[in-house]
Point group: C2
Chain length 281, copies 2
């Protein structure tokens, strides 16, 4: 595995790979790798002849008062894990190289970013679409791999790719969970042991919703109140949102119909955790 | 010359050209070709093995009350001219193909678009950077050619290219002028014969500024008032702005220093005309 720091070098390397007929898979990450990230890299390894992973804690997707400074940074361990799963190029640029002084260009998806996580995090998705555009322009991947845990992110990125005619296939892979069901996240590290135990309510509440729906429930309000009841059993949990939306428009549904995304965000201690399930009825 | 309407077809064609080792030059236009456009196509023909021109009157760069509906559309004549100067692919998509229902993604350069033409046309450059991003993603040119008449546009596009790591070289070519000095523009067609005669004051005022500077003048205020005095000799002319700015930051200068852009916008009848000169002192 080759580690590349300069955007210009990475662009040149990937341009040559493309001209040589290679198929490039990109896994964009902010590091602190867990099995979720590694599953994306393994999928890229299967699907593409060359695998690039990017490791960059992107400042423009963090709002004021969010966890940019504390976000876990474990470069040596990440590099070793990436190499183990077969990454060919680890692109790890500096902040100054990605956002030099005077930087002022942003890519924005207007409506899909105003709902769900976009309410509490108004500049988050603008940062995501901007950095992903930059990474796509540097790496020029044939396929890019994202995890379903950030379900809204995938919807937003797919919309950007369609709207801006980007020539890349977006691949979404399932959420990877801890043995007790908690979705893997670099932010789980922020939880105290007690909070970590309680955090399983996110998964349990979604499983409870799934059971209701399997039993025939279609009413969004009743599903949401069931989820809320389960989450309230955790004394440190504070609901940010619980929503039942169409999985491609992200618009709220009164009754389940077609592919539905049930998504939630919950604050537990200093961590803001998200989870979701998709259900086709 | 091949005319291509579908963005998807154009992307496939250009992708294959790139893989085959061709060098692609792109001339983005809104049609109504004059010698200004043709000079860009000839330069692309010299510099690249394959030349694509796009012809699309881009609705997102027109504000409310601007001339989107009246903008000249002369497709047959444009196609003949493009073929004469050696364009290989004329990309002429429909509005519905470029901005399908539900379109909602925009690229924005924040500061450089707030000055000069950005004051009277607040959404103009967002439309320009968005359509140019789309065209770059469809055509994937090695070089793209723009005219100096839209000097701010080139500065904004260069900033976007740098900030978003777009792998394309931006080439700017000199303003092409009518025999009396008026900068060629599709919007000159809006002028009545009397207005057309008066419109030469834009050029004359800039030439007067050049003479002053050649004679040693460095004070921006005195240069601006000279320009204004010349333009006031035209009874139908109404100044939108006259500015003396740094040619890369577009920030106003008190005294000329380095490469200076002297830019102006003037309304004559129903036309809003722009012109500029660059002077290195």
């Amino acid at each position: 595995m080759k580690t590349v720091e300069s955007p210009h070098d990475m662009q040149r390397i990937c341009g040559n790979l493309r001209l040589a007929g290679e198929t490039i898979g990109l896994v964009p990450t902010m590091g602190a790798f867990h099995e979720g990230h590694l599953s994306l890299m393994r999928a890229a390894r299967q699907a593409c002849s060359q695998v690039a992973a990017s490791l960059f804690v992107n400042p423009t997707q963090f709002g004021r008062g969010e966890d940019l400074t504390n976000y876990p940074r474990t470069f040596e361990q990440d590099a070793a894990l990436a190499e183990q799963v077969g990454v060919d190029y680890l692109f790890a640029p500096t902040e100054g190289a990605m956002y030099p002084n005077g930087y002022e260009t942003y890519v924005e998806v207007e409506r899909l970013t105003k709902v769900l996580c976009g309410v509490a995090r108004p500049i988050h998705f603008r940062g995501v679409t901007t950095i992903v555009t930059k990474l796509f322009n540097i790496v020029r991947p044939h396929k890019a791999f994202f995890g379903q845990k950030d379900a809204q992110q995938t919807v937003v990125i797919r919309k950007m790719v369609d709207d801006l005619n980007m020539d890349v296939e977006i691949v979404e892979l399932p959420i990877v969970r801890e043995p007790d069901g908690l979705a893997m996240s670099s932010r789980n590290q922020y939880l105290s042991p007690e909070e970590r135990e309680e955090a399983v309510v996110l998964y349990r509440s979604l499983e409870e919703a799934r059971r209701l729906i399997d039993g025939g429930e279609r009413d969004a309000k009743r599903i949401i109140s069931t989820i809320e009841r389960v989450i309230r059993t955790a004394s440190h949990a504070e609901v940010d949102y619980i929503e039942v939306v169409d999985s491609s428009t992200l618009q709220p549904l009164d009754a389940l119909n077609g592919e539905t995304l049930i998504a939630l965000a919950v604050r537990i201690g200093s961590a803001r955790l998200i989870d979701n399930i998709k259900i086709k009825v």
